[in-house]
Amino acid sequence: MTIAVLIIVAVVSVFCVRLVDIQIVQADSLNATSLASRSDSTVTLGTRGDIVDANGVVLATSILRYAIEADPSAVAEFDRPAADGSGDVKVSADQAIGELASVMGLDPAVITAIVTADPTSRYAQISKSVDVSTYNAIRALDIPWLYYKADQSRTYPDGSVAGNLVGFVGADGTALAGTELTQNACLAGSDGSEVTETGEDGVAIPGSTVTLKKAVDGGKVQLTINSDLQYFAQEALAQRVTEVGAESGTVVVTEAKTGKILTAAEYPTVDPNNIDATDPAYRGAKVFSDPFEPGSTFKSITAASLIDAGAATPASQVLAPYEYKSGDAVIHDSFYHPDMRWTLTGVIEQSSNTGISMLSNNMSVDQRWDYMNKFHLGKPTEVGFVGEDSGDILPGGVSGPTQLDDQTVYNTTFGQGLTVTAVQMASAYQAIANNGVRMPVQLFEGCRHDDGTVTDAPAPSTGEQVISPQAAQDTVHMMESVATTGYAADALKIPGYRVSAKTGTAEMSNGSGAYGGAYLTSMAGMAPSDDPQYVVSVTIRKPVTITSGLAAAPVFQKVLSQVLKTYRVQPSTVPAPNLPTTY
C-alpha cells in the first residue's frame, strides 16, 4: 500500500510542478505570445474637418479612397465560383489582370509590369487611390492576391469657386495653401488605434476590443463667404478680364455693418481638385497676398481724413490746375484741362490729382499718416490668412512720413507711392460706409468641433471709430456724385438704388523704380448711399483695351446688383443730395 501512495504522490507532484511552471513562472510570456497571435491592431482614422461657407454649403470635405496593392509572390491561377453556381472556374493570372485593368481603366500591360517586376516580393502598389465605386467593382472580381488599404483624401465639390480661399492639400494630405493651411490646427484630425482579439477566421471576439488611443475628428471651419455670390463674382470678373485683355483681377465684397468678407474673388483662381491646371503664381489668394498701388480709389480715404480733421468740407474750394508743383514734386491730372474751380466733391468726381494734393496741404504729413494707421493700412488684417501681406505705407523703409520726399508725400494723396492689398482697401471703404466705425475684417466664423463646442471664434467687437460719422457720411455723398455725374456714371447705374463709388487708374511700377505703361484700374464703392450695407471693391490689372476705371465699372455694377438682390436690400427712398462739384 505504501508504494501506491508514493506513486500517486509522485504523479500529483509532477502535475503540481508543471502547473506552477505554466501558471506562475511562464505566465507572462505565454500570455503575450497568445495575445500576439490572435490580436489585430487597427488604425482608426480621424477624419479631417470640412470647410463650409456661411450657409453651410460644403467647400471642402474628406472622402475615402483605396490603395490597390498586390502580392506578386501569390499571383497565380485561382478558383472562382462560377456565375451560374455550377462549381468553380479556374481564372488565370492574365485573365484576372485583364479584368482588373478594364475595371480600373488602365492598360493591362502596365499592371502586368508592376506585378511581375519582382516575383519574390510580397508587396507591389498598383494604384495609389481609387474611388469607392471602382473599389467595389474590384472587390467583386474576388482576386485573392489583391490587398486594399483605405485612406483619406480631400475633395472640393464646388471646384474653383472660392478655390483661392479654401486652398488645397498635397498628395500626402498635408495642407499647402489657403484655409486648409491657415486653419490646419482646427481641421486636422488625429488617428487612433485599437487592438482587437480575433478568432481564426478573423471574427472579433466580443468584448476584447481595447482602444489604445481614441481617434479625434477634425473640427469644421465656417467661412463668412456666400459661395453663390462668390461664383457670380468670379464669373463676372473672369469674363471682363478676358474681354479687356487684362492679366488678372480681384473682387472683394464686405458687409458694411460687420466687416465680414462675403466674397473675395480673383481671376485666375486655382481649382483645388486640379492644382496643376493653374499657373503656380495664381495658386494662392492674391486678395490677401498681393499688394498694389491703389490709385485714385485712395482719394476717398484722403478726403475722409481731411474732413474728419476739420481741414476741409465737401464744399471746400480749390482752383485746380492741370499741373501742380510744390517743392520737388510735380503732379499732373489724368486729362488736360484749364484751371478748374472745383469743390472737394468736384475733385472726387473728376478724380483730380492736383486738387487733392493742394487740399492735402491743410493737413500735416504726420496727421495724414495717423489716419492711414487708423484705417489699419500698412499692417495685416485681423484675418491672419497664410501669406497675407501687410502693404507698405512707408516706402523705402523710412521710419516716419516726414522722411519721405515731396513727390511721394503728394503721390500718396491719390494712392500712388504706397501699397495696399485688396482686402485692406475693402476694409477702409467699410469704415467709411459704416459711419466711420471700422469693424475687424473677418473671414472665419470659428472652429466647430464634433461635440458642438466652438473655438477660435473671433472676439465680438464693437469696432473702432476711425473718423466721425459726419465725415463718413460726407465722403459717401461725395462719392455719390461719381455714380450720378462722373464719367463712369452710365456704367454704374443700378435702377432703384443710390450708389457711391470711386474710380481708380493707377500706374503700375515697371519693377525698376519707375512707372511703366501698365495700369491697374479699380472701382470701389458702397450701396445704398442713404445707409450703406455692402462694400464692393474691384481691381483689374493691366487691361489692354480699356485702361480707365471703365474697365472695372461693369464688374462693379453687376456684382453690386447681385449683392443687393441676394440680400433683399430695400431700394433707396430718399433722393441723392447732389452736392455741388464746382463753385
Binding site: 472622402i63 475633395t155 465639390p157 471646384g159 459661395s227 481649382d271 491646371a277 438682390k565 431700394p571
Partner: protein
Amino acid sequence: MTNLATVPVSRLGSPASAPAIEPRRRWLKPAPDSMPRQRRRPRIVYAAVAIGGIAIIALAQLLLTIGLSDGAYQVSAQQSKLKDLSRTNQALSEQLTALSSPQNLVQNAQTLGMVANGNTVYLRLSDGAVLGSPTPASAANAPIAADQALVPNSLLQPDPVVAAPVPDVSSAPPTAAPDPSVPWQGALPSPQTH
C-alpha cells in the same frame, strides 16, 4: 476493557449492615448505534446536488459562450454590411455634392433654355405696388454667361450631367406675343404678423 478498579467493601469501619461483595460491574457500555443509516443518506444527496450544480453551471456557461460567439459572427456580418452601406453612401454623396455645384446648376439651367434676369423688380405686399419696370429676361441682358472654362470644376469632367436640351422655339410656328404683365388674381397675401 475497563480499567476501573472495583472497590471491595472493607470489613473494618463499615456500617452495620455490611453489604456483600458485589460482582465486578462494567460501568461503561458501548453506545447503542441506533441511527447509522439515516446519517449516511444526506452525504450522497449533498454530493449529488453539488455535482449537479456544477454541471448545470458549466452547461449554462457553455450555452452563453455559444450564444456570445454566435453574436460575434452576427456583429461581424452587420459591421461589414455597415461598411458597405457607408461606402455606397459616400460614393453617392460625392456625386451629389458635385452635381450641386454652381457650375453644374448653371450649365443645366442654360441647356434648359433658362436665362438669368438682371433686372430687379420689387412687389410691395402692403399695397401691391410694383417698384421697377418688369422686362422679360433676354440673353443679351443676362448679367453673366456661364462659361465653364473660366470657373472650372474638374469634378464635373469629362462632361457635366446635363438635362435634355429644349427644342429650338424659333422653329415653331409663331404665336401671338404673350402679354408680359401678369395680372394678379384674387386678394394679395398679406403678411401674418403679430
